[in-house]
């Protein structure tokens, strides 16, 4: 082990506007989760009643974007969703197998910040038009963060909501 302390513990403070990391693009995640398959976007229309059921059964208030659901040529579905935690915004993909079970969950993007900033549309705007490499650069100076554990409960709730959506809108469709 080698440890080189750089600063007196309380000396220098860096405020992170947003530490962002991109792990997968949509296409990379599709190929990693369903190798060799092709993907067709599902034109999904969710009724108000369906959306209410999704909220009731998952507790997730963030609007669900129904335009990121793909049917997989080899069977099953590929769904992209986002969750907001207190300090983080996470974009993730779920692979649902032909047997209606979750096969795999991959985090595509992790953005760390205060929740109020994430909920502010002007703040969100800064991400529009950013591709994988530019977003990566944004967070590349701040890495290897040690600190009190962030809970992944929001992601668990998000996956729960996707499964409710699957039950209501996708299950049994060809």
């Amino acid at each position: 082990m080698r440890w080189l302390p750089l600063l007196a513990p309380t000396a220098v403070i860096v405020t992170v506007p947003a530490a962002a990391t991109v792990y997968f693009s949509t296409e990379q995640a599709q190929q990693a989760m369903f190798p060799g398959a092709t993907f067709s976007l599902v034109p999904l229309q969710l009724s108000d009643a369906q959306r209410r059921t999704m909220l009731d059964r998952s507790g997730v208030h963030e609007p669900f974007h129904a335009d990121r659901v793909w049917r997989v040529s080899t069977g099953g579905y590929f769904v992209i969703d986002e969750v907001l935690g207190k300090h983080e915004r996470i974009k993730y993909a779920v692979a649902i197998g032909p047997d209606a079970t979750v096969r795999q969950i991959e985090i595509l993007e992790y953005n760390e910040s205060y929740g109020y900033e994430v909920r502010d549309p002007a703040w969100r705007q800064q991400f529009v038009g950013k591709n994988a490499s530019s977003t990566l650069k944004l967070g590349s100076d701040i890495r290897n963060i040690s600190g009190a554990t962030l809970s992944s409960k929001h992601l668990t709730d998000g996956v729960k909501r996707l499964l409710v959506m699957y039950e209501l809108a996708l299950k049994g469709t060809p």
Binding site: M1, R2, L7, H87, Y110, N144, I145, S146, A148, L150
Partner: protein, 267 residues
């Protein structure tokens, strides 16, 4: 190559580099599988985990556990002995009383300590009384070490595994380490460089003090740098209770403690 998954109740990031993409992808996948196994074995939230089986049954009958669970418990016993009892994962009764672990089967647990735990050579676990174990203070560190060991076995020589803030660096290349301010999570400090070592940082709120049997909530933040993550993880719990970064037992493990946020008031 960098990947992140939700495991151990937090976000686990594995970054590895220095060989071709196929090998990295396979190695990272295997490392996540190791972390997932630790989660399955040692989560207090899963009724079928080794830990939940111990809490339900080991006060009546010996419980056979996975070798990894036995190893983690042996580390816990060692840390308990070395820190004069400051590290203790038999605080299920207190976690339940302070409502820090609702619905985890700890509600009937009696107050106790690690002295009530026995791990046999055949990897069976016995409890002297109906106490409650929680491995939240050590399992993440153990999982990080297993992920690093898996990556190494698969031929990777440079990697960082970060399980929600408990992290370990493999490789001689020093990596910059930032520490999150517990009072303001937007704020991080560059603390130093680590090569071939681990660092863990104490959380606030869910840590029970062994002496007064109540949550430690003095606002202080502490990190421990150590050769293994399991050591760093466990020792932060002991350091956070005393507030002293010069405890004699740190050197025994080759560990260094840092004060990363001042306490609200002197103890």
């Amino acid at each position: 190559m960098k990947r992140m998954r939700a495991l151990l109740g937090t976000y686990v990031e594995i970054e590895a580099w220095g060989c071709d993409a196929d090998r990295l992808a396979t190695a990272i996948e295997a490392a996540f599988t190791a972390v997932e196994r630790v989660h399955r074995l040692m989560s207090v939230h899963r009724p079928d985990s080794d830990l939940s089986r111990i809490n339900r049954t080991a006060w009546r009958l010996p419980v056979a556990v996975h070798p990894w669970t036995a190893r983690t418990l042996r580390w816990a016993l060692l840390m308990h002995a070395a820190t004069g009892g400051l590290f203790d994962c038999v605080l299920g009764s207190e976690l339940s009383r302070w409502d820090l672990m609702p619905g985890c089967g700890l509600d009937d647990a009696m107050p106790g300590s690690m002295a009530d735990l026995d791990v046999g050579r055949d990897d069976t676990v016995r409890l002297a009384r109906r106490v409650g174990l929680d491995l939240g203070g050590i399992a993440k560190g153990f999982a990080v070490d297993r992920a690093i060991a898996t990556l190494r076995r698969m031929g990777v020589r440079r990697a960082v595994v970060n399980a929600g803030g408990d992290l370990r660096v493999m490789g001689r290349e020093p990596q910059r380490i930032h520490i999150r301010d517990p009072a303001d999570p937007r704020t991080v400090r560059l603390a130093g460089l680590v090569a071939n070592g681990a660092i863990a940082t104490s959380g606030t709120g869910a840590l029970i003090g062994v002496r007064d049997r109540a949550p430690v909530r003095d606002g202080g933040g502490y990190s421990v740098v150590a050769p293994r993550c399991v050591i760093a993880d466990a020792l932060t719990k002991a350091v956070a209770q005393t507030g002293r970064i010069d405890a004699p037992w740190l050197a025994r493990f080759g560990a260094i403690a840092l004060l990363t946020a001042p306490r609200a008031q002197a103890a």
